[in-house]
């Protein structure tokens, strides 16, 4: 694969391949320093085959703290050194991303935010203070100092952030730079020039200097690919850039560089082509944005569009992406499903980056490796072939146990396949396919269409085997009266089998991705749909995946009526009656069908308490999400050895 061929940068440094693990928020830090968790996280990707690791963007000045654990360059020296040591052993280059978020930060209990002009973000955005000449000089100097520290700490170079959340972009854009001095108007690029020039002179000719540039701000009047490419060419000519990473997004679309599955992948190629056509040949183009399939990445490289490809989320999902491609086993790559459920961590509470396909991501220092040979192989019966059961089976089989999965349905995958029927969630099926294929490869016996009973459990335990109960969940209770004239279905049934004729009400007490996807899928099929939510807005829990505003917009475009702050209290005769959660008044929603997307109950009728060799995992313990199911399943498999020792 050309993706795996080396690349020599203009500065003379060579990357062993084109696969980049790009900068992203991880919350792995300690205070504002990089931590041993960062080291382990990056080490695993380097060992797994990444050609270049770009570390989490570090703020160059302490007045910038876009999120609590955002690294601060001045505190990153030791961490950068440790990461460089950890990755260089695998032949991986390490670059330090440097940035300042300007008006997109949080001023906290410190002084006001800095910005080129007094332009605030969307509603609720803080009004920043316009930077004066001193502030500008201080920022340029801070970029230079940070770059010096990065290279002195052993990094191979730096990447300057002018992406969707960057002060440098705010200067470049006419949307946020309204200045009339030497840094505005025709001189909007001066700030970037000064920074790149100062950085280059600090790091010397032989270090890699890259620029992460938003080439499409996705807002009227903002940067567009053509203009951005021309700008990059100028910057490259003056400051000796080695590469430009082509990203998109802005103050008005801050998460556009890493959308979830509702945005079709492939948006990266057009602006990358534009960039390629403007940049001198010796400056590499790095393509970025929902590139998760190796064939896409290879295509971008072979057609000459990009010399580097950022596959960040793909390598969060499978740290060994590069290694598996090099081994000629691309089918073994654990797919990123573009859900943003666990890896989008730039939010309150500072959760650690992780992945529902691989919950060890981000927890490298805490969780044991996925596979460790079993001390004594056992016969393991896994009841249920959903994500918990398949992960338990996969990990157990990889450890050398003899595993049989019994699945009542005709096909494995459980709720992954059900959820994949929802709009924008199709890629969840890839994960189900991957689990099944890995189980087959590892010799797991899968019996579908077979419902296990107590005797199966007893038989397996009696012969010293182990049983993992992964029977998933059941529809929850409907806590209001339902009379004839309204058919009530739960979300899983609706997604599996479709919905009878007539107007549909979708009840969403959860606020997650399920109800929105059900409503969208039904509306796309031409149905009249009303979404009923107790929350102030539809999909109230989608903020952290970055899909909330987009979901609301899609529902509006699809013609879905949203009834907010309401709860059904009765259904019948073609009407769902709802109560206003706060005001108490009632109203009616026309519906022949009510799809309940409420909380589920554990399907635990086979559970009889913990016994030696008998455990349960996933929704059968408590109905939660895929992440928890996979983690539970993996732990159940890894615990088989302990249970045996205990016996």
């Amino acid at each position: 694969m050309q993706l795996l061929s080396p690349l020599r940068f203009a500065c003379g440094t060579t990357a062993r391949n084109r696969l980049v693990f790009g900068p992203h928020a991880t919350n792995l830090g300690r205070g504002r320093a990089l931590s041993e968790r960062h080291v382990a996280y990056y080490r695993r990707r380097a060992a797994g085959g990444a050609g270049i690791v770009v570390t989490e963007t570090a703020s160059v000045l302490p007045n910038d703290r876009p999120y609590e654990r955002a690294p601060l360059a001045a505190e990153c020296g030791a961490g950068w050194s440790a990461i460089a040591d950890a990755c260089h052993g695998s032949g991986t280059l390490v670059l330090g991303a440097l940035g300042h978020s300007g008006q997109q930060g949080v001023s906290g209990d410190g002084p006001a935010l800095w910005a080129p002009s007094r332009v605030s973000g969307p509603v609720g955005g803080e009004v920043p203070v316009e930077m004066d000449a001193e502030d500008i000089a201080a920022t340029v100097a801070a970029f230079a100092a940070a770059a010096r520290l990065a290279v002195r700490s052993g990094l191979d170079g730096v990447e300057v952030d002018a992406g969707p959340r960057a002060l440098v972009r705010q200067f470049l854009s006419g949307l946020t730079n309204l200045r009339d001095d030497g840094y505005g108007g025709r001189h909007r690029a001066r700030f970037a020039h000064e920074i790149l020039g100062a950085v280059r002179s600090e790091v010397g000719r032989h270090a890699v200097v890259g620029l992460r540039l938003s080439c499409d701000e996705l807002a009227p009047g903002g940067l567009v690919p053509e203009a951005a490419a021309r700008l990059a060419a100028e910057l490259a000519a003056r400051s000796g850039l080695d590469y430009v990473t082509v990203v998109r997004g802005s103050t008005f679309a801050p998460d556009a560089d890493r959308p979830d599955g509702h945005t079709a992948p492939g948006f990266a190629s057009t602006p990358a082509r534009r960039m390629r056509s403007w940049l001198p040949r010796e400056v590499a183009v790095c393509a970025q944005g929902s590139i998760v399939d190796p064939e896409t990445a290879e295509g971008l490289v072979t057609e000459g569009t990009a010399q580097l490809v950022e596959m960040t989320r793909a390598q969060i999902a499978d740290a060994e992406l590069g290694g598996k491609l090099a081994a000629g086993t691309p089918e073994r790559v654990r797919p990123c499903v573009l859900c943003n459920a666990a890896c989008q961590v730039r939010r309150p509470g500072s959760p650690v980056v992780s992945c529902l396909a691989d919950p060890r991501s981000g927890y490298e220092t805490e969780d044991p490796p996925e596979t460790a040979p079993a001390a004594r192989p056992r016969d393991v019966l896994v009841i249920g072939g959903g994500p918990a059961g398949l992960e338990a089976a996969r990990v157990a089989a990889a450890a050398g146990h003899r595993v049989r999965v019994v699945e009542a349905a005709q096909r494995t995958g459980g709720m992954l396949r059900v959820a994949a029927a929802g709009a924008g969630r199709e890629r969840l099926a890839l994960l189900a396919d991957w689990f099944a294929a890995e189980c087959v490869r590892l010799g797991v016996r899968i019996d579908t269409g077979h419902r296990a009973g107590p005797s199966d459990i007893d038989a397996r335990l009696a012969t010293g085997g182990a049983v993992v109960l992964c029977t998933g969940g059941l529809p929850g209770r409907i806590d209001f009266p339902v009379r004839s004239g309204v058919v009530v279905l739960d979300a899983a049934e609706a997604l599996r089998r479709g919905v009878p004729a007539g107007p549909v009400a979708v009840h969403d007490p959860v606020g997650g991705p399920v109800a929105v996807s059900v409503a969208e899928a039904l509306a796309a099929a031409g149905r009249e749909v009303t979404l009923i939510t107790p929350d102030h807005q539809a999909g109230a829990r989608l903020a952290h995946t970055g899909d909330q505003a987009a979901a609301s917009a899609r529902l509006a475009r699809a013609g879905v009526t949203v009834v907010r702050r309401s709860r059904p209290h009765a259904a019948g005769d073609g009407v769902v009656a709802v109560t206003h959660v706060y005001a108490g008044g009632t109203s009616e929603v026309r519906a022949d069908v009510l799809v309940d997307c409420g909380f589920r109950l554990p399907a635990d009728e086979l559970w009889r308490g913990p016994r030696l060799g008998f455990t349960r995992a996933g929704d059968a313990v408590a109905p939660r999400g895929v992440y928890e199911a996979v983690l539970d399943g993996r732990r159940a498999a890894l615990d088989l050895d302990d249970a045996e020792v205990a016996g």
Binding site: A112, V123, P351, S354
Partner: protein, 685 residues
Amino acid sequence: MTVAGRYSHLFRPLRVGPVTVANRVVFGAHRTDFAEDGLPSARHTAYYAARARGGAGLVITEAHATHPTDGHHERLVQGYRPEVLRGYRAITESVHRAGVPVLVQLAHIVVPAAAPYVRRPAWAASPVADPVARTVPKAVERHEISAIIDGYARAAELSVEGGFDGVELQCAHPSIVAAFLSPATNRRDDRYGGPLANRARLLLELIGEVRGRIGPARVLGVRLCGDELLDGGSTLADAVELARVLQATGKVDYLGTALGTAATRHVSQASMHIPAGYALHLANAVRRAVDLPVIGEGRFTDPLQADRALADGHCDLVSVVRGQIADPEFAAKARAGFPEAIRGCLSCNQGCVPGVGGPSGEGRLACAENPRVGRESEPDPAPAAASAIQGGRPGSGRWPRRARVAAPGPRPRDVLVAGAGPAGLQAAIAAARAGHRVRVCEAADAAGGQVRLAAAAPGRAEFGELVRNQLAECRRRGVVVDYGTAVDAGLVRLAAPDVLVVATGARPERPAWAGGLRRVVDVRDVLSGAVRPSGSVLVVDGLGFHEATGAAEFLAERGCSVEIVTPAPLVGRELAGTLDLEGWSIRAAARGIAETCEHRVTGAVAEGTGGPVAVSLEHEPTGTGATRTVDWMVCALPQAPRDELYRRLRSPGGPAVRVLRAGDCVAPRRVDAAVADGERIGGRL
């Protein structure tokens, strides 16, 4: 008037089990997010000690976890780990030094343990989803019930070893005990589910075990939920019955009374829209059923209210949490006869909502009025506040001076502050505290700036207390405030201060689409009374906080027909962080205020610029246009800094004086940022 005359009940000692509290003011349990690596921090110690020195009768720490499955937030004290002892001893020693008993609250919180800090299923009585965490917990099995009890018992042992005078068991939402107690969340069919006697079994077992571990010489309190406000949930009748059962055990020393659940935090931590003492009926009912001391709760911000609650027999002790966050010397000032010196809590919730916290971005507890919260362990840049208090002399008219004067600081300077809004007054206070001579000049005839306007919105009057509090502190510290005096270069030359702090605030910025239309006005014009819109009004919410919703309510109360339009997916979206969104939703529905979301204003025209306004809107997601014709439009949009003075004085040829700025004239922000700015600037001259 004598002290006893003013507060006949508040300062009477009371026996609570084995200890005696000197007065009835309790600093009740509340989340701080001060823990570091799961352990109590120096921040905790200094924070609790400040309230003990400030006169609280009893301090109860925040909830400490009793079991590793409880990781409901990241900065939780893990009370089950022996490593807590060092921090425990630091807390108890420093609180005891002030002669105040201190309890630790123990809790096994069930809720958002789907949170990434635990990565294990949350434990609960039954698989009933928590309305806030929105995840289904695991129904605990028999051996896990034993683990819960062991966790509490072990944590109680550590508490005693660490020097606490006892423990309070958190049995209100969202503890696992409440999950068992409430019929809404307990659907078990074993000995722990069904009738109250069964639902209370876990609690009774806990009490037995904990009392066994702590012995008779320590306090054991129980914080009950008086009413879950939940269909099918625990009611006041349940609480009363349970209180009797608890008294009958002979092992419980006092009872607390919480209201609501995590789903109704807007009631448990009510903002200023809900009157003080709103939860006293719970304490009252419980108190009438038992002989144990009962703690009353519910937004007590004034010692007189607290005394009244005692006098009326509602409760034996009063929990004053936010009142003592805002002013650690709440009790001491009341006792000494200077209640007017108390920096009264505004109940603005801009800093003290659990999990939201202040502007640090770390979720740490803060206070819009008191920038020292959570920094009690750090040296005060304006150091006089760090020293101890002398006894008050009632009748002297002044809250006593400090026992120790500040360590000799820099040379006292003459400081001139331009603007008596929250930033200017705070800068003045901080500067005066550091020993400087301060004069504030305000162009208007009253202090407070925008705070005064904000306080004019319905239900927001208490916000204005901020100005009163700041002015009172200015007076105590000898700050001179001149009204009707605008600062200009001439005045600066004449006054010749060493330092000028510009705090001239912000001004509304007229949107481009408004042109010269007379009936397009700013929120400020409405709240100040400069214009009196009538008929139909369209309010534009471009800020998401109280500005638009407050003006809308103001106009609706006056009989206008009001609609709010916002480009955001939600009107008042920022109100969620102060627990005001629920109340707003209720009042908006009651007053018929319409909400139109995801729409931006694209244009406005009027006949002859003075008539009704024809507004064009665009639904952003679809690009669909809409129109309205209204009598008035009121804008709540980002403001512009009034920084002309600052710029003029900094430009070449200006007076030779050090010029600093604070508050909205730097960048228009919220009041907490203004106060923080003022404190920072004024404290470092």
